[in-house]
Each structure stands twice: as C-alpha cells, then as structure tokens.
C-alpha cells in the first residue's frame, strides 16, 4: 500500500526542489507553524537545498515551548504533593520553571513518570487507587482528541483519582497574533498537517482572506514539505491567497468530524498565555464546567504562583519568527539542551534545540 519511501524518494524530492527554483522570482518569507515541520526540514537537510530566495521562519508550533510558565510552575507544585503520581510527555520534564523543573521533582523523590499517551495515565490511575494521578495535558489540536477521550473515559469509569492539568493551545489565533504584529514579516504559512487532520482547513480560510496570505497544509516527509512549499510559492508568485491541501492522504477539508465532536463535548475555548509571547485571546481550550472535577487546577487549587522568567532567554522572539536561535547571545554558550534557559531549547521540536542539534553555523 502506501509506501513511506515514495515520500522520501530522492529523485522526486529533487524534482520538486528544481521546480521551486524555476518558479521563484523574488524573496519570500514562509513560516512553518509546527515544530515537527522544523525538525523535519533540519533532519533531512532540506533547508540548504531550497533556493536562497526562500526564507523559512520557524513558528510557535511547539506545544512544549509555549506552555505558560505559570502552568509549568503549577505542574511542579502539584507533582511535589506526596500522594500524586504526575504523568507527562517526556519533553516537559526538563522545561525550566521559575525555580526548577519536573525532572528535579523526580530527583527529589517525587513520583513523576513519562508516558507516551494519556491512556497510560488512565491505566496508572486504575493500578494505584490510593494515589492521585495527574496528566499534563499539553498540546495543539492534535493531542486534544486523546485528552478529551481520556477525560470522558475517566468519568465513565468513575476514576475519581484521575485529573488533567490542561494546557491546550490552538493554531488559528496564534496565526492572527503573528500577522497582526507590526514586526511581522511572514508572507505565507505552512500549516501543520496533523493539526489539520483533526480540525480540517476551514478555520484557515478567513485568515487567508483577511490578511491576503496563502496557507498550505503539509505533511512531514521530505516530498510532502517540498510540494507544500511549491504550492505556496506558486500562490505567492501569482498573488493568490488561498488555502491549499498538500497532504490530502491524511487531511480532509472538513477534518475529522468525530474528533471535533469529542473535543467540543469536553473542551471550551479560553484565553491562553503563550510562554514568551503573552496572552492570545481565545487561543486555548480548557475543560468544560461539567468536567471540572477532572481539572487538576480545580482539584489541587494551586494559586499564588509567582513566576520568574530568565532575563536572557529570547524564546518568545524566536517563537514569533522575529529572531533565529543563533542570534541569541546565550545560544550554545550558557543555553544548551543539558542546561536550557527556555523551552525552545528543551523540546525536541523547539527551534533552538533543532538548531543546536542540526545547526549548520558550526561547520564550513
């Protein structure tokens, strides 16, 4: 059936790149929303193969990076409770809070566990009825169905020792925020294929029309990304502002309706703080009132959090595409994956971590 190799085929990718080179006549700045896209560009070494006229700007699509400092501090406070088993995706363990990170809570004896799915957290809750199991529910729209289903099932199963610390963020309001900034230089977007697989493309149409910006949903294989850029460049060169789908095998215009229904049954839109960026109105999801008992913020009443960011870290500027990681004075000097000052260096999808691992400025 669908062979992954087709989308990694060197000849096809090189053809797409040549076509981009033949199409482009001027400089264009294209933002890839998603950390997974950033990572893929660097992993395959695609950046250097693109013509110089194309500038790729890395977007804020790294949920680990944008989880607010306040929520990270709350997570640390909750994880430090003796009766809590705190479960989270691995990347969140090293995200710096105001004083420390979740990893150091574990090192001090806290029960902090890495899980690959919230289903595991439900399982842990079943197996440990005398403990409070909390899952750190971060993510864009891609993880929302998983988190929603987990909360629904917890309620169905009467799992009263399970709760979720929710930090969902939504892509379209972030795009609005980036495009309305006076510092904006983004002229087109590569939308995240798996976010669009869930939510569809309909939310992007009004954005494309309002700001006269082409938007293309792409997958994550080299050919997917190159064809996505090709479609985008064709629109830019022809002054077109449509929403195109360069990942039709996984993305439908209407998205996954079942997933959207599950999400809307469980979550409601809310304002969200994006770390390094600030408050973006209605850019997040929180649990609906009927699920309040499963909301860890409500269950643990963690208030009076005093946040303190590193003065040196410029994650926010990087997430908005206004600076590149190597323009940060701390990059590679005092800020490294072993000793990160900000979340963009911690997450495997963060731009700073990607540049540190794959960055070309250290050779040639």
């Amino acid at each position: 059936m669908i062979s992954k190799n087709k989308y990694q085929d060197r000849t096809l990718v090189q053809r797409a790149i040549q076509e981009i080179k033949d199409t482009v006549t001027q400089k264009w700045s294209i933002m890839e929303i998603c950390g997974g896209q950033t990572h893929a560009f660097m992993h395959y070494g695609l950046n250097d193969l693109l013509p110089e006229e194309i500038e790729l700007i890395h977007g804020p699509g790294c949920p680990v990076c944008v989880t607010s400092l306040e929520l990270v501090d709350k997570a640390i406070a909750i994880a430090s409770h003796e009766e809590v088993i705190f479960t989270s995706y691995g990347d969140m363990l090293r995200v710096p809070g105001s004083e420390k990170d979740l990893f150091s809570v574990r090192a001090s004896g806290g029960d902090v566990r890495v899980v690959y799915s919230p289903i595991e957290a439900l399982r842990i809750a079943h197996q440990n009825p005398d403990k409070q199991v909390v899952f750190f529910g971060i993510g864009f729209e891609t993880t929302a169905p998983a988190n929603a289903i987990s909360v629904i099932k917890a309620r169905e199963q009467g799992l009263d020792n399970f709760s979720m610390l929710v930090s969902h963020v939504r892509v379209p309001p972030a795009i609005h925020a980036i495009l309305s900034s006076p510092m904006n230089k983004v002229q087109a977007f590569l939308a995240a294929g798996h976010v669009c697989a869930v939510m569809g493309l309909k939310e992007y149409k009004p954005i494309a029309e309002k700001y006269k910006i082409p938007i293309t949903a792409t997958g994550f294989e080299p050919l997917d990304l190159m064809l996505g850029i090709l479609q985008t460049v064709r629109m830019l060169e022809n002054d077109q502002h449509q929403v195109k789908n360069a990942y039709p095998r996984a993305v439908k215009y209407e998205g996954n309706i079942q997933a959207q229904t599950i999400i809307s049954e469980t979550f409601i839109e809310c304002d969200r703080q994006w770390r390094g960026i600030g408050l973006i109105p209605m850019s997040g999801w929180k649990l609906r009132p009927e699920f309040q008992t499963f909301d860890a913020e409500f269950r643990f009443k963690v208030d009076h959090i005093q946040t303190r960011e590193s003065e040196v870290c410029i994650s926010g500027l990087i997430l908005q595409g206004q600076k590149k990681p190597f323009e940060c004075p701390a990059f590679r000097e005092i800020c490294t994956p072993q000793n990160p000052l900000g979340a963009t260096m911690v997450s495997s999808e963060g731009a700073c971590a990607a540049y540190y691992r794959y960055g070309k400025e250290s050779y040639g």
């Binding site: 059936m1 669908i2 995706y89 891609t142 169905p145 064809l227 360069a246 039709p248």
Partner: protein
C-alpha cells in the same frame, strides 16, 4: 509532538469500554485508541499520534499528492515541445 505516522490496523478490540486497535508499523505492533476514528476497519491505515488515531489514510488521496508531480512533468513536456 506532531509526530504522527501511518500504521495498519491488524485487530480491533475493547478495553474498559474503550475502542482499541493493534496497529502495525513495519512489524512493530502498538496498542492504539481508535475512539476518534470509529469507522476505521482492520487492514486500513491510520495516522497515530500519542497513542490515538487521528485520521484514516486514504489511498486515493495519497495518489493525489503525486499528481502534482505529474503536472510538473506535463508542463515541462509542453515547454520542451515548444
């Protein structure tokens, strides 16, 4: 986090009233929650993210991606003939 890869459903079952599937990736089998893609059947492909299927993969539409390249070929052919 955006990591989502296509796998083939080998088996569908239920645990604690949750619809689950055994999904195969090149011989590795993973347990995946199928609640968000309830119509997915055995032998179909799904995109899985954090242990949940988020989308069914469509073979027809997979080929659509490659028609863009065919268009490029046709255009190049036209220019060549001119």
């Amino acid at each position: 986090m955006c990591l989502g890869i296509p796998g083939k459903i080998k088996e569908i079952f239920e645990i604690n009233n949750i619809k689950m599937g055994k999904v195969d990736y090149s011989g590795v089998e993973v347990e995946v929650c199928l609640e968000a893609t309830p119509e997915a059947k055995v032998d179909e492909y799904v995109i899985v993210h954090a242990g949940f299927s988020i989308s069914r993969l469509s073979e027809d539409e997979a080929n659509e991606t490659l028609t863009l390249l065919q268009e490029i070929d046709e255009m190049n052919q036209k220019e060549h003939n001119q």
